[in-house]
């Protein structure tokens, strides 16, 4: 018996970054507005619908955007706020039992099939509001999916669009075409997904690509007269591979109704410390603030003796300059405040402006820590004698290869395997 097709549900919060960056100033969403370029960049971020009407789009150079719309309002970017709000949204989705794969802020997917029995009995055998395309045709199944979507909508508490399809890409396409209160359900198999995707523009590949290789494909395809996903799917596979390589084959697979499996994230804990700085700070004051934050974070009860593997350093910049955020994975899991300071302090140099608030959050914990005591504390001569005796005993028991030492033969070689060999230990 064939396995039931997946019900990949795409959750789309349109213009999420713009909405968060605008904060309570909702009037900004009704005028031509865009997120100002990040420090060191010249490209604007998300734009409002009114700005789009002037031909301004996300990723456009600031000069061109202002040339197209002189009334364009620039909103300072708020990456830390976006990250925090998005994390809240993901936790809300996980709270209904969904295993969520976040694609980017404002866009996430989960498989609703495992949740049907959980929510269909509670949230509603009510009227199905979604537009069903294809299925399996049962109105009952549509109602069960509606129940899951209702639970998700209630958990998120924000205007959201849902698309449901057998693959991630088709679900994203469905969510893009859905309305706020009317999800688009495509509950058939891969063939129906392919038929649904066929008339869609290749531009849709850009949405799923982010900054990856696929992002450049739509423009190249359109230049060659391939405007829809159906036209892309109909091309010979060998020709696509020759012209576009691996990214082309991936795009064609998406257009044919295939996709990679979902990779849900592991649900994490939020442990965060922030420090309001009395005066806008930079330099040594910031380093001391960071020192304090590290100490406070390590003292948190929720840490339960675990080491930290990845942290996020964030700051609110002065004079409504937006926020700044840096993620740092340590080379090895740490609980030593000194080593954490050594790793994190250089990141403070990247702050584009003085900060009024500094924050440090644990993104991922490592294994529990243990005290690292010195193995030997005796004087060197006694230690050497004991070592010789230990080596002698080991060789007597396990053979001449039992005690070896590392001999560097080409320590500057760029290839690690050429640098060192093992030779007999002599002392």
């Amino acid at each position: 018996m064939a396995a039931a097709p997946k019900l990949i549900t795409c959750v789309l919060l349109p213009r999420f970054e713009l909405v968060v960056a605008a904060g309570g100033r909702t009037e900004l969403l009704g005028v031509p507005a865009a997120i100002a370029p990040e420090p060191g960049s010249q490209q604007v971020g998300a734009v409002s619908a009114t700005a789009e009407a002037f031909g301004v789009s996300a990723g456009m150079r600031l000069g061109e955007a202002l040339a197209r719309c002189q009334r364009l309002t620039l909103i300072p970017p708020d990456p830390a706020g976006v990250e925090e709000r998005w994390e809240q949204m993901l936790i809300a989705l996980e709270s209904i039992g969904a295993a969520v794969e976040p694609l980017r802020p404002g866009l996430a997917c989960f498989d609703a099939r495992g949740l049907l029995r959980l929510h269909a009995g509670t949230a509603g055998r009510g009227q199905a509001t979604g537009r069903g395309l294809g299925l399996a045709g049962s109105a009952l199944a549509d109602q069960e999916i509606e129940a899951v979507l209702t639970a998700a909508r209630r958990a998120l508490g924000a205007p959201v669009r849902f698309g449901v399809a057998p693959t991630r890409f088709a679900a994203l396409a469905a969510a893009t075409g859905a309305r706020a209160r009317q999800p688009l359900l495509l509950t058939g198999d891969a063939r129906q997904a392919r038929e649904f995707l066929a008339p869609m523009p290749v531009e849709l590949l850009r949405d799923v690509a982010g900054d990856g290789e696929l992002a450049a494909l739509p423009e190249a395809l359109e230049r060659l007269g391939i405007g829809t996903l159906g036209e892309l799917a109909a091309l010979p596979r060998a020709a696509v591979a020759d012209r576009f390589g691996r990214s082309g084959l991936h795009a064609q697979k998406l257009a044919l109704g295939g996709d990679l499996p979902l990779r849900p994230r592991e649900a994490g804990e939020v442990v965060r410390e922030t420090l309001e700085l009395p005066e806008s700070s930079s330099g040594q004051q910031l380093e001391r603030a960071l020192e304090l934050l590290i100490d406070r974070l390590l003292a948190r009860r929720e840490r339960r003796g675990r080491t930290l593997r990845a942290v996020v350093l964030s700051a609110v910049l002065v004079e409504r300059g937006g926020t700044w955020r840096q993620r740092m994975s340590f080379r090895e899991s740490l609980s030593d405040p000194l080593r954490m300071r050594l790793a994190l302090t250089p990141r403070l140099q990247l702050l584009p402006a003085p900060a009024q608030t500094l924050g440090l959050a644990v993104e991922r914990f490592g294994p529990p820590t243990s005290d690292q005591q010195a193995l030997l504390e005796e004087p060197a001569r006694a230690r050497a004698a004991r070592l010789r005796e230990a080596v002698r005993q080991v060789r007597a028991g396990a053979g001449p290869d039992a005690a070896l030492r590392v001999l560097q033969i080409d320590p500057r070689s760029r290839f690690p395997e050429r640098r060192s060999v093992l030779t007999p230990f002599e002392r």
């Binding site: 690509a209 990856g212 592991e266 490592g366």
Partner: protein, 80 residues
């Protein structure tokens, strides 16, 4: 005594990559963060050139691993 044994000899490994060719799982462990990447080329003047794209990654199990993609043979190897 046998001949000298080399250290850090690469061993073949299973690496899953994303659409951009970046490792997203090493030996079944999802990659948590990519710390560094670099390209090494050597012996290009011989008939057995070496061409490797190295990746230093931290996996979700907390291991810091260095893997490389042999750009000539197409295999993935782990070196630490």
């Amino acid at each position: 005594m046998t001949g000298a044994r080399r250290l850090a000899v690469p061993r073949q490994t299973r690496v899953a990559t994303d659409a951009d060719g970046q490792p997203c799982a090493v030996d079944g462990q999802a990659v948590d963060g990519i710390r560094e990447t670099w390209l090494l080329e050597d012996r290009w003047w011989t008939e057995q050139p070496l061409r490797r794209r190295y990746w230093e990654v931290v996996t979700t199990s907390g291991r810091d691993q260095v893997v490389f993609h042999d750009l000539i043979a197409g295999d993935w190897w782990c070196q630490r």
